[in-house]
């Protein structure tokens, strides 16, 4: 390395008052100025602004700077901004180091004096480090132009269609036998009361018939390897025991099944209706193909059955020998759209779900209201009656530190919609018990007031208990909702025939495995973590993997579709470019220092290190190196060095950050 004179420019950002309101930026600049090698040190109100960037560019030219440090926010926000600025001034962008004095200092430190001291050390560390920086080039890697979408609810469907319409091949993997997800259960959608099936089924069918979409239902992703642009994905498709290409969905097998009455738990209707071992998930399922459940089919379970279904199928579509299938695909980008489920409200015994037959959860009522549902859209209680009074309980498990701290976001409007539909179909007195009505969407407040004007009751108070213990004659035989009416300031007891619980949303089953498999972080509630809550709400910290819909957090259909189409846009932007540039933080081995001990080889989980027998040294296969640096830490002779994290760089940073009071 040439021993040219190091000339550093240091820029301390005020970030308005975000930094300067706590950290004394002038004091930091004065301190930094004295460090050998620092030629210019300045503070400026917004370094990320064009003016701030120009300041750097000018100084590079005027003061012949060959190193730049910006002390501002997290590198996750603006590292690229400043690297670009440095590059535009003709300097290698890796002669730059960022010091995080906002997220890691001014925002987290109470005492301005302490914050200033800490900031000095953080900036000093960056200055000491940048002295050892070296010019680097980003590595260009080819990108596969296919896209994987995981999850076939409205999010996955919307994302897949946009990608496919852009001419890219899309693999859409859905866990259950049909796409459609939660939305397929709905009868109407708020606030417009659009018929859900009328707007969803065309999209489902478009997915099935789209030449660019390979729909893989009843399947799950088993493993993911590779990295952005080049993911290798193994998909395990479970056997349907029905040959999809032959089945026309005529349901003759269902009629012919030896079980004359359906008696098994039906997933689509949340168990409100029963199904046979051979069934079609729901009338407008896509693909509309029969499926045989190995858990309830006599032949598959016990090997003994008359196989009347096989006889009934004139297309010979039933195949009891069908085996699980592994499908391997290579894609450049992945969209996760794994959705949500409702919390198990039977764990909240105060609401009586599972104990009182007339306590329902919202999705059951959605299915009941669905014209294709078990009651053909009518509200009929488990005892066969039509309810004359219905209580809808909001925030069951939401906004509750004992359960889910967060607001589940769509329940208010869903509850109002259910109230409207129930009232319309039963003429029952319908009560909403709520904490707040959250109607922050286009047309939502208007819908709320409309439904309120229709005479649906809104009583403000979180219900703590549903009971059947009657205190008055008219409470006999009813479910009684006991609530503090917080607006009237009294305790009320309201007897009803039916209770509908609005359960909190939580991530779909298996989210932990999915997060590990795809290397996507999760929040403490296991929603997938977006890269930035505001400016990168779709991307994840795993490059090339994007989020759509409720897997990232509860949201309603409009927001889900918006995010899904956004995710499609992000994925398309990535795969359409044809290549990506990777951070050059890979390792290299100095053959002069390598003793050929091969300690490193076992360290690398990616097989990027190979011992060269001939030369007696270990070598790096650059294409496989992911840049973790574990081998570098293990190398006893210091022969392995990681770009951007070379020993001397990290050691200089550590020494710099610890130099309390030092000059």
């Amino acid at each position: 390395m040439s021993r040219e004179e190091v000339r550093i420019g240091v820029y301390v950002c005020h970030c308005g008052t975000n930094i300067a309101g706590v950290v004394n930026v002038e004091e930091v600049v004065e301190y930094i100025k004295k460090i050998p090698g620092v030629v210019v040190a300045r503070h400026y109100v917004y370094m990320c602004s064009e003016a701030g960037q120009n300041l750097i560019k000018q100084d590079i030219k005027e003061h012949k700077l060959n190193r730049v440090v910006v002390a501002s926010c997290s590198p996750n926000l603006h590292e690229n901004t400043f690297r670009r600025a440095v590059a535009e001034a003709g300097l290698n962008p890796y002669y730059f180091q960022m010091a995080n004095i906002r997220e890691h200092c001014s925002w987290v430190t109470e005492d301005p004096k302490e914050a200033t001291e800490k900031a000095k050390m953080i900036v000093r560390a960056a200055v000491e480090r940048v002295k050892y920086h070296e010019p680097l080039e980003k590595k260009k890697v080819e990108v596969k132009d296919k896209i994987l979408v995981v999850g076939g609810g409205i999010a996955g469907i919307s994302a897949a269609l946009v990608c496919a319409n852009a001419g890219k091949t899309v693999y859409l993997v859905e866990k259950s036998p049909s796409i459609g997800g939660m939305m397929s259960r709905l009868d109407k959608t708020f606030p417009t009361l659009d018929c859900a099936a009328c707007i969803l089924t065309p999209k489902m069918n478009e997915v099935a018939s789209h030449p660019n979409i390979k729909l893989i239902t009843y399947a799950e992703v088993e493993s993911v390897e590779g990295f952005v642009g080049n993911f290798k994905v193994r998909i395990r498709k479970k056997p349907r025991y029905v040959i999809e290409d032959l089945c026309v969905g005529c349901e003759k097998c269902v009629e012919a099944c030896v079980f004359k009455e359906p008696k098994f738990y039906d997933e689509w209707s949340f168990g409100l209706k029963k199904r046979k071992p051979v069934y079609i998930p729901f009338p407008y399922a896509v693909p509309r193909k029969a499926i045989i459940d190995p858990e309830s089919c006599l032949y598959l379970k016990y090997g003994r059955c008359k196989q009347t279904c096989v006889e009934a199928c004139d297309r010979n579509a039933i195949d009891f020998n069908q085996k699980e299938e592994i499908i391997e695909v290579e894609v450049g980008a992945i969209i996760l759209a794994t959705g949500y489920k409702f919390i198990d409200v039977s764990k909240l015994p105060q609401y009586g779900y599972g104990k009182y037959p007339n306590v329902y959860i919202a999705p059951e009522v959605e299915v009941m209201l669905n014209a294709s549902g078990p009651t053909r859209g009518e509200i009929i209680l488990r005892d066969g009656r039509k309810p004359k009074s219905v209580a809808i309980i909001h925030c069951v498990g939401s906004r509750d530190e004992n359960n889910k701290k967060y607001c589940s976001r769509l329940c208010c409007m869903a509850a109002i919609k259910l109230a409207h539909l129930i009232k319309e179909r039963t003429e029952a007195e319908v009560y909403n018990f709520y904490i707040d009505i959250r109607a922050a969407g286009k047309g939502y407040e208007e819908f709320y007031k409309r439904v309120a004007s229709e005479g649906v009751r809104f009583i403000r108070g979180k219900v703590a208990e549903i009971t059947d213990v009657a205190l008055t004659p008219e409470e006999e035989g009813k479910l009684i909702v006991r609530v503090e009416d917080t607006l009237a300031g009294v305790i009320r007891r309201i007897p009803v025939d039916m209770v509908v619980l609005m359960p909190a949303l939580e991530p779909a089953t298996g989210v932990e495995e999915v997060s590990k498999m795809f290397g996507v972080s999760v929040t403490e509630d296991f929603w997938f973590l977006e890269r930035h809550p505001k400016l990168a709400p779709i991307a994840t910290f795993a490059d090339g993997i994007f989020l759509a819909g409720c897997c990232q957090g509860p949201k309603d259909i409009p927001d889900t579709v918006m995010q899904a189409e956004g995710a499609a846009g992000d994925a398309l932007a990535l795969v359409s470019r044809g290549y990506i540039e990777l951070e050059p933080n890979i390792v290299s081995i100095d053959p002069e220092k390598c003793s050929g001990c091969r300690v490193c080889v076992g360290m690398c989980p990616f097989g990027a290190l190979k011992y060269n027998e001939e030369k007696g040294v270990t070598e790096v296969i650059e294409a496989l190196c992911k840049g973790c640096g574990t081998c570098a830490a293990a190398c006893p002779s210091g022969a392995i060095q990681q770009n951007l994290f070379k020993d001397k760089q990290v050691y200089a940073e550590i020494a710099g950050i610890l130099a309390v009071g030092g000059e």
Partner: protein, 183 residues
């Protein structure tokens, strides 16, 4: 809050009645924001704020609403009406409720205005016009005596007349009132 409110004590037909009267139709749109109570210059004297009154009407708390002191404190300034974000005519709703409270005679006995209204009404019915001083005197002699000092001062300035005026066509006005009462 001393007791539990049972649904058997709630009268939702009361809500329906209010909804059916001119000015009462929008109460279901109430979002309980409290603008009415906030803008009301007299809400701090009330037993239930205007927001609570609307809520209790909506919930059918007939007894509490009709016997509320709030009705007789409301000065019908219409601040609530022009500011309500849901277009509810709170002051008009108060008038509807007051009529019901007057009809049922459930107003607080120490409030003077219900008595004044009755006396006023009788006077209009009798002659088609009223004399304020006489109306007050007939409603409560005590009240009139309490304001005697002020009355004398005003009389000195020619601003207090005790002369009972009447319309010329008393029979027409009486018939009008009788027909309206029947309507």
């Amino acid at each position: 809050m001393g007791k539990v409110k049972f649904e058997s004590e709630v009268d939702r037909s009361f809500t329906e009645e209010i909804l059916s009267e001119p000015g009462g139709e929008a109460i279901l749109k109430c979002i309980q924001c409290g603008t009415c109570s906030s803008t009301c210059p007299l809400s701090h004297f009330m037993d239930y704020t205007p927001r609570q009154i609307i809520y209790m009407v909506r919930e059918g708390f007939k007894k509490e609403v009709l016997s509320s002191r709030t009705l007789w404190i409301c000065a019908s300034c219409f601040s609530c009406v022009v500011q309500c974000p849901s277009g509810i005519k709170i002051a008009d709703v108060m008038h509807i409720i007051k009529r019901k409270a007057m009809a049922e005679g459930v107003y607080p006995k120490d409030e003077f205005l219900p008595k004044l209204y009755k006396s006023f009404y009788e006077s209009v019915k009798a002659s088609g016009r009223i004399n304020e001083t006489n109306v007050v005197r007939k409603a409560s002699l005590g009240k009139a005596l309490g304001m005697l000092g002020l009355g004398l001062k005003l009389r000195g300035k020619g601003r207090l007349s005790l002369a009972e005026e009447s319309v010329k066509d008393v029979s027409q006005v009486r018939k009008l009132i009788e027909e309206a009462e029947k309507a």
